[in-house]
Symmetry: C2
């Protein structure tokens, strides 16, 4: 029976530890190599893969390393997946996500999925056992969107969201990719509102994917004033057209003085500053743009822990700094609802597809 659940020796673990081949004892994300066996443990789910969505930083690194040669990039991805049993760029450490259809569900899976469900994984490819079976023959190696055939495994604690039937798949995927940002922004703003406040919220990189959703979430959660910071006029026009921020301002986020001045003139300092730009060196400016006892939420993977910690100390800044956790319960549905409700968010996303 093809989809029979196997009865392997090793007990399964909701975090996927049972599929770590080396080094032993580390979590799947930290593993060099995962076990990609097709048979499922009782709490697992197998997905027939339709498309991979490579992390932007990873794709950029691979393209640069191979001189923008698409065939070489494709071979590199195939080699990584074959060697590691997962798509994790060894240089950037990052992965991406995937879309596919559920093809088998173990009897003890807690994920609530059924065979035939079309889903996107909301855990990183860096910890997802993956086998590619078509040699990525439909991909030219020149885009982060990778058509693929093969299978992937979800663990008991993995997360997958059904792809909504009313939205194009690439749009849904693009929203799910950044859905942690609006959910956490809403939670942080909500805590101020619960205490009777109407916080000023600044989103650095407000015209981007996570940034536009964060702005929409801040307003919906009760922000009193929203500021969108963008790097140049073109993005400012886009964000103004989208009507997501009370004020749109232009500043280089890497220049702490310019950034904090721009936020100040736009109605700041902010009680809540959300960093959504994927360039290094924005920590100091974000801290300086934030009011005393305010909160900075770092969503950029380019954030440096030590630059944030030492930066706040060096500025004697009494701010709470949050590592942007990509998981908040209900985050995918919440982000989809923002997209459906806000034509401005939807336009910004559709422009980037």
């Amino acid at each position: 029976m093809e989809d029979a659940v196997s009865t392997p020796q090793r007990a399964s673990d909701a975090t996927g530890l049972h599929r770590v081949l080396e080094p032993t004892g580390v979590l799947p994300q930290a593993a060099r190599r995962l076990d990609t066996r097709r048979d499922l443990w009782a709490d697992e789910v197998r997905i027939r893969v339709e498309r991979l969505n490579l992390d932007a930083a990873s794709f950029r690194q691979l393209s640069a390393a191979h001189g923008e040669d698409g065939v070489a990039v494709r071979d590199a991805v195939l080699d990584i997946v074959a060697t590691r049993g997962k798509m994790q760029n060894p240089v950037t450490g990052s992965g991406g996500m995937l879309v596919g259809t559920v093809e088998a569900v173990g009897p003890e899976s807690p994920l609530g999925l059924a065979v035939g469900d079309r889903v996107a994984t909301l855990v990183s490819l860096t910890l997802t056992p993956l086998v590619i079976e078509d040699g990525l023959s439909r991909w030219d190696g020149r885009s982060e969107q990778v058509p693929a055939d093969g299978y992937a495994i979800l663990f008991g604690r993995s997360i997958a969201a059904r792809v909504p039937a009313d939205l194009p798949a690439d749009l849904s995927l693009s929203v799910m990719d950044v859905c942690g940002a609006p959910a956490l922004t809403a939670r942080v703003v909500g805590e101020y509102v619960d205490r009777g406040g109407r916080p000023t919220v600044a989103v650095i990189g407000g015209a981007g994917k996570s940034g536009s959703l964060a702005l929409a979430a801040a307003r919906k959660a009760g922000a009193g004033h929203t500021i969108g910071v963008v790097p140049h006029r073109v993005e400012a026009d886009l964000l103004e057209d989208a009507s997501l921020a009370d004020v749109v301002t232009i500043a280089d986020a890497r220049d702490p003085v310019a950034l904090s001045r721009a936020v100040g003139e736009a109605g700041g300092p902010a009680e809540v500053t959300v960093v959504c730009v994927d360039v290094p060196g924005c920590e100091g400016g974000a801290i300086l743009s934030t009011a005393d006892r305010g909160t900075v939420v770092f969503f950029s993977m380019a954030t440096s822990f030590s630059a944030a910690a030492l930066g706040a100390e060096g500025l004697a800044a009494d701010v709470t700094m949050l590592v942007g956790n990509g998981y908040v319960p209900g985050h995918a549905d919440y982000a989809m609802s923002l997209l459906r409700e806000s034509p401005g968010v939807r336009r910004l996303f559709e422009r980037r597809l």
Copy 2:
């Protein structure tokens, strides 16, 4: 008049921007080179330096790079300070702190210091203009504690604490070096207590300097149960003797399964987990040791932002993750009070002098 305040062309800025020589526009911590002129801007303070306390990671790197040759290490430190105008290790990016005596105070300084005050700086050496005038002739290059003569400049927003007269200087310095950890731990625990909770607090690295203070702070702030995690028996005995934790447990913090199991058996998962061990790879274990909707406070400079963010997402862990800000108002006095009240903390510190 030797200590006259100069009237330079450039306006001063509380963050020290006016002393950044290159690249322009960055904050002093990010600068390659600072202006170390002796004359003060009106909001500055000049300190006669007595001793530098190099950051442990920086000293370790320098020693290793120079084959433990003390003279070579000394020359390297002199070269860094002469070249950069500050003590910032170019490899680790870290600095340290200093002790000295106030020798001049600008008329507009907001720091509340007076000439003759013996102080420790609580901002990093990485952003403090520094001139060494004795060639570090009293230092053998074999210890992080560097006797030195020279001067340093504090800005309007810098922080310096008076060295208490009732405690040995090296003990005070050693406490001030980590005083952000207990203050932030107390604040986080206090938020639970304000909501009627009595949280379980786990401190990873509980027998260390920041760890022991964090344990004392957690208990004082109203934790219901405290767990100290240490790497081996010797530290477990020390921490048990100090009576700072309700339970002391031994685990390798880099092994997420072992760590979370140990915390679980010691009364966890923790509502608040404080990471105080300076080794990489503790993010996953800390997240797994923390209860749903709990808080992880990362105080280790070895923390990886992306490992924390992707780790929580990969584990579908709904936890709040804080970047341990080294500055909380009143942090030095608070840490000193913990040391004075707790013979256990004091013994652990004195052992490390």
